[in-house]
């Protein structure tokens, strides 16, 4: 299929359809409302479900109900809306229901702003809701990658029976880029007869299924949490993704950066190379699981003197990097979180202060 020029939000919407996800529930919020606007037209064309819910809280439970019935389903929102969905996400994780949640991040806290940011790193990777749970979090750096991650997100959600989050900054949703959709993508959800409340007749079963997150017996609750923990450990084994840039050199500094910010860092690294200074970068494509081994290895090489976390937040990723670097190299932060994306020149200037 030929490349077409598409806005990120619309490409994400189309990617879901091409992934065989024909069920979408959402509530409008800037900067991702184009997903809903696109799907309000597109879902009827493909015989899918589009519904604008009354709130993000309600939407998260529409997703839960649809997922619990065995359907492939997704929603999109932005930071304040994702906070409202965090309750539903906790219930879904507890009840082991798959779905894809897209967060096109804006600045915060509170209403913050409507411009791009990466301010929801902690929320997405550490604890988006109450209780002991995690989500697999993927961070695209281009519209094309957002499409590819959307397509991987549904099978991964079903593999783990857990919500998966696509964490894009506002630019990923708002910018237009050439994008190519792979041909013939539509796949049915994994067989879910063993757990989905799809009606016993549908499964030709006499056994009823129960989707729940309440375990009043302490041993049963502990066991459920052990099942969840085992899934998160498996994510760490099977589904860590990252990309290296300029790490085949004797780089003096290592940048760790993701999403749109990592593309600015590409330019900064190229600029410094022209100045005769080598800087390497590891770009996490999954934020949970974090590419711990790769960041540790890349930071620990003898020629690397310093590690820089460059992000559109006030340094939320620093803790993860420090965890990997284990105190053997200094970890510094540079970033902005008001809606301006730091320029390549600003990144270059910052790296110079470290060398």
């Amino acid at each position: 299929m030929a490349k077409i020029l598409m806005k990120g939000n619309e490409a994400i919407a189309e990617a879901a359809i091409r992934s065989g996800c024909l069920n979408y529930f959402a509530y409008p919020i800037t900067p991702q409302s184009e997903v809903a606007e696109y799907l309000a037209r597109r879902m009827p064309e493909v015989g899918g479900v589009f519904l604008q819910g009354e709130s993000e809280v309600a939407v998260s439970y529409m997703i839960f109900g649809a997922s619990a019935a065995g359907a492939r389903v997704f929603t999109t929102s932005s930071s304040p809306g994702i906070s409202l969905m965090s309750e539903g996400l906790s219930y879904m994780a507890g009840a082991q229901c798959p779905a894809v949640f897209v967060n096109i991040m804006r600045g915060g806290p509170g209403l913050g702003g409507i411009l791009p940011s990466q301010a929801d790193y902690f929320q997405a990777t550490k604890s988006i809701g109450h209780g002991d749970f995690r989500m697999l979090v993927m961070a695209p750096a281009s519209v094309q990658e957002a499409v590819e991650m959307m397509m991987d997100a549904f099978p991964l959600a079903e593999k783990y029976r857990n919500p998966v989050m696509i964490l894009g900054d506002g630019l990923i949703g708002q910018m237009m880029e050439p994008v190519e959709f792979p041909d013939s993508l539509k796949k049915d959800p994994l067989n879910n007869d063993s757990w989905a409340t799809s009606g016993m007749d549908t499964r030709k079963s006499t056994q009823r299924n129960l989707v729940k997150s309440l375990f009043l017996d302490p041993e049963a609750l502990n066991n459920n949490n052990l099942i969840l923990k085992a899934k998160y450990e498996k994510m760490k084994q099977d589904d860590v993704r990252f990309e290296d840039y300029n790490t085949d050199t004797s780089y003096k500094a290592l940048i760790v950066s993701y999403g749109t910010m990592s593309r600015v860092c590409h330019t900064a690294i190229d600029t410094m190379k022209a100045q005769g200074i080598e800087v390497g970068m590891v770009r996490p494509q999954t934020l949970f699981p974090f590419p711990e081994d790769r960041v540790r290895e890349a930071a620990h090489v003898s020629h690397c003197n310093v590690v820089a976390s460059i992000e559109m937040s006030m340094g939320q990723m620093v803790e993860d990097i420090e965890r990997c670097v284990q105190g053997r190299k200094p970890v510094k932060w540079f970033g902005k979180c008001g809606g301006d994306v730091p320029t390549p020149e600003e990144v270059v200037d910052f790296i110079h202060t470290l060398l």
Partner: protein, 247 residues
């Protein structure tokens, strides 16, 4: 001669966790009888609330989901939209539906979602230990209205059936009770009608059921029934508030 009173297939054989004199058991049985009579057990999915009935799924023999507090109508919406062939009902108490879940129930009713809600109104929070609900009667003592519900301070009890019947979207909205056999017969009829409308894909349906909570009312089961008849029924009047035929 065969047995004339047997346990419905849709009802599980379980020791109840509900308190002595609680009317949830009666309502569970009515729902199960209707499901058996309509022959829909294999295509029915129930949604349990948060509250005493959170464990409702222990008493039924078909698929069930468990919602967060107040969110059952949103879950039912999601499920019914993606699987219109399923028969979906939510089973909710007054704290769940009339307080924290008010937004979800109003919008589900207003969109005309094709599921059924069984709304159990016993004028008090049960599971958390007898706190004031939006449906608590004026002057009624609860653990959070120890001097009686002061309507100057917290307003009058909410009449859910009347509130939802005021929406312009067609629906089936009815209030019945399970205080005595004469009421129970009508309550079952209403539940069956609600499920039938859903089977026909006709409209949203809600059956409000005036119920009792002897434990949290501090009354015996018999006194509770008398109290509900004397205090609740004059305020929560029984009857059909809306049918899909109404314009």
């Amino acid at each position: 001669m065969g047995k004339t009173f047997v346990r419905p297939e849709a009802l599980a054989q379980q020791v109840t966790h509900y308190c002595p004199g609680c009317t949830h058991g009666v309502i569970h049985r009515l729902v199960a009888e209707v499901i058996d009579e309509l022959g829909i057990r294999g295509r029915t999915v129930g949604i349990a609330p948060v509250g005493c009935a959170v464990l409702a799924y222990n008493y039924f023999t078909f698929d069930f989901q468990e919602a967060a507090h107040g969110r059952a109508p949103a879950m039912a919406t999601g499920m019914k939209r993606v699987r219109p062939d399923l028969m979906v009902f939510t089973y909710q108490g007054d704290g769940d539906l009339a307080s924290i879940g008010m937004g979800e129930i109003i919008h589900a009713a207003n969109r005309g979602e094709k599921f059924t809600t069984i709304f159990v109104n016993n004028a008090v929070y049960g599971m958390t230990g007898g706190q004031m609900a939006p449906t608590t009667m004026p002057g009624q003592r609860t653990t959070t209205s120890p001097f009686g519900r002061n309507t100057e301070d917290v307003g009058m009890p909410i009449k859910i059936a009347e509130l939802l019947a005021a929406l312009q979207t067609p629906g089936y909205i009815v209030r019945q009770a399970v205080l005595k056999p004469k009421y129970i017969v009508k309550a079952k009829k209403a539940i069956k009608q609600a499920f039938q409308y859903q089977l026909e894909g006709k409209c949203f349906s809600l059956v409000e059921i005036v119920s009792t909570c002897p434990t949290n009312w501090g009354l015996t089961p018999v006194e509770s029934i008398k109290w509900a008849e004397e205090n609740m029924l004059p305020y929560y009047k029984l009857g059909e508030y809306k049918t899909p035929e109404d314009v």
